[in-house]
């Protein structure tokens, strides 16, 4: 028997027990089996596709989905369509920009939309991710054109945002 991904003989026969439709048998050569087994436990793209399919069944019309697919993040430029295809988001701000669209997805995957674990001591406010990414880019450009005054202004601005986030976080911790 040949490996299902190449011409080499299949010497590994792997049964994936976590497939929703029951166990799936794969026949792989040593190299592909190794690659498969060393991947992360979850296959994110597949589980996201599954969760999105469920979401679609839950009433989104074709037209709504087509519109959603067009939606783009102003910071990293990723479209929802691209995210759907790759299973990966483009930047931290996507969680704010696509928040309403991600919530049903997160509910499907995690059965929850609220983090209740560890929190960092320092954190920038959620809506400042866009600003942080843009400012850092601007700072690098300023350095490149040797405009050190502008670069230093931006650095101060970045510090200010970081500090504001930390204060907010501390206030939240005190409240708790």
């Amino acid at each position: 028997m040949k490996c299902q991904y190449c011409e080499k003989p299949a010497t590994f026969h792997i049964t994936e027990l976590t497939e929703p439709d029951g166990p799936q048998v794969m026949h792989l050569c040593e190299e592909h089996a190794r690659g498969f087994l060393q991947k992360e436990a979850a296959t994110p793209a597949a589980s996201i596709a599954g969760a999105l399919a469920k979401q679609l069944n839950l009433g989104q019309t074709k037209q709504e989905l087509a519109e959603l697919d067009q939606k783009e993040c102003p910071v990293c430029g990723i479209s929802f369509f691209e995210f759907r295809n790759t299973g990966r988001l483009g930047c931290p701000f996507d969680y704010t920009h696509f928040s309403d669209d991600l919530i049903p997805l997160l509910t499907n995957i995690h059965d929850s939309v609220e983090h209740c674990g560890k929190r960092p001591r320092r954190a920038a406010a959620a809506d400042s991710h866009a600003e942080l990414i843009q400012l850092r880019r601007e700072m690098e450009e300023a350095v490149e054109r040797e405009d050190y005054e502008r670069a230093s202004e931006i650095r101060d601005e970045l510090h200010r945002i970081e500090e504001a986030g930390s204060t907010e976080q501390n206030a939240r911790e005190e409240e708790e």
Partner: protein
């Protein structure tokens, strides 16, 4: 931190997690926890320019350099490494296959005992992992929590008050935590109970991936159990789900299956594991699948007291040291598949024929 591209010395040692000690180490090989983290002011890796990646790598390296008790941590630039060296680190479980095969600026920091590694520019900017021998998730969580705090002191993480730690893939968001326990379950495979056991696990938010053969096919009988969800539970609760709830139940099933095998046919079992040891210690050429298959039997034989004088730590090491990149690093040269089979047989013979003790394994 020591910048390093020459780690030939690693080939002659092995990581702490392979010692074969720690709770339940007859069945549990290792307990691993990883955390996914991202910097707040960069896009996720897929949307990063080459310059962004370089910038992330430099930023994180500079911060790591400032961690005061990291003088002996080794920092390896993966972009500069040969394929065989990257493969070696994958076999060693110090880096992922994904980062090994990626392109562009990327690196890994490894502690001298190989208990933790921090990957830079994997799917997320940072992937921190801690690995302990046996079922030891609570102390692994403590170690990784401290490590995370140390790095956080120097880095501004992407964090959202509602969604938690932000990750490139929404399946990791929240805690960014993945707990994985590697189990050796030969008796459940022999008694054909394994499917049933794992099917019963599906309802409780854990993922099992396994490698096992059908009929006469070769197998290592290793299974990895991990948490499926990362959002909406505290880290300690996810650790407890896998470590206190799921894994102990599987261990109990495996023990029962081993007892059953011993009672049912002690001599057959003794014969089977002894033959496996015989093949491993006398073969003149052997593939890595065949090696895995027989090492698995020998490992069970050692744990049931049917094989004496072979420490389980030696067997654990042989699983790793007989893999392709390890053999080539040990030989110091590139070897084709058939040459590797010869070298593998020689290596196994050396370490199983009773001439060398565990301490001599190199």
């Amino acid at each position: 931190m020591i910048r390093d591209s020459d780690f030939d010395d690693l080939a002659h040692k092995s990581g702490e997690w392979l010692r074969g000690t720690g709770p339940e180490s007859d069945i549990v090989i290792s307990s691993r926890i990883r955390l996914a983290r991202n910097l707040a002011d960069f896009p996720f890796i897929r949307r990063c320019s080459d310059e962004d990646r370089v910038s992330i790598e430099r930023t994180i390296r500079a911060k790591m350099d400032s961690i005061h008790d990291w003088q002996d941590v080794r920092y390896i630039d993966l972009e500069q490494l040969s394929e065989i060296d990257r493969q070696f680190l994958v076999e060693r479980q110090l880096i992922s296959r994904e980062i090994a095969d990626a392109e562009g600026s990327r690196a890994v920091a490894i502690d001298p005992r190989e208990q933790y590694s921090v990957m830079i520019n994997e799917e997320d900017h940072l992937r921190i992992q801690v690995m302990h021998s046996g079922l030891d998730l609570k102390s692994a969580w403590q170690s990784i929590d401290e490590l995370d705090d140390k790095l956080e002191g120097a880095i501004l993480y992407a964090f959202h008050p509602q969604f938690g730690y932000l990750t490139a893939c929404p399946t990791n968001v929240g805690t960014g935590l993945r707990v994985s326990v590697m189990l050796h379950l030969p008796a459940l495979v022999i008694t054909r109970q394994i499917d049933k056991v794992f099917r019963s696990m599906q309802r409780i938010n854990v993922t099992v991936r396994g490698l096992y053969g059908e009929g006469s096919q070769y197998t290592g009988d290793f299974y990895q159990v991990s948490n499926q969800i990362t959002l909406g539970h505290r880290e300690q609760d996810l650790v407890a789900l896998v470590g206190d709830d799921v894994v102990p139940r599987i261990i109990e099933y495996e023990r029962k299956a081993r007892d059953f095998l011993v009672k049912q046919g002690q001599q057959d079992l003794h014969d089977d594991v002894s033959r496996a040891l015989g093949i491993l210690s006398t073969a003149k050429k052997i593939s890595s699948e065949e090696t895995m298959h027989y090492l698995s039997k020998v490992r069970m034989g050692v744990n049931l007291g049917l094989i004496e004088d072979v420490p389980v730590g030696t067997i654990n090491k042989l699983f790793i040291h007989t893999q392709p990149a390890h053999l080539q690093k040990l030989q110091g040269r590139l070897l084709g598949s058939s040459d590797r089979n010869v070298e593998r047989a020689t290596y196994l013979q050396c370490h199983l024929s009773g001439k060398l003790s565990d301490g001599d394994l190199n």
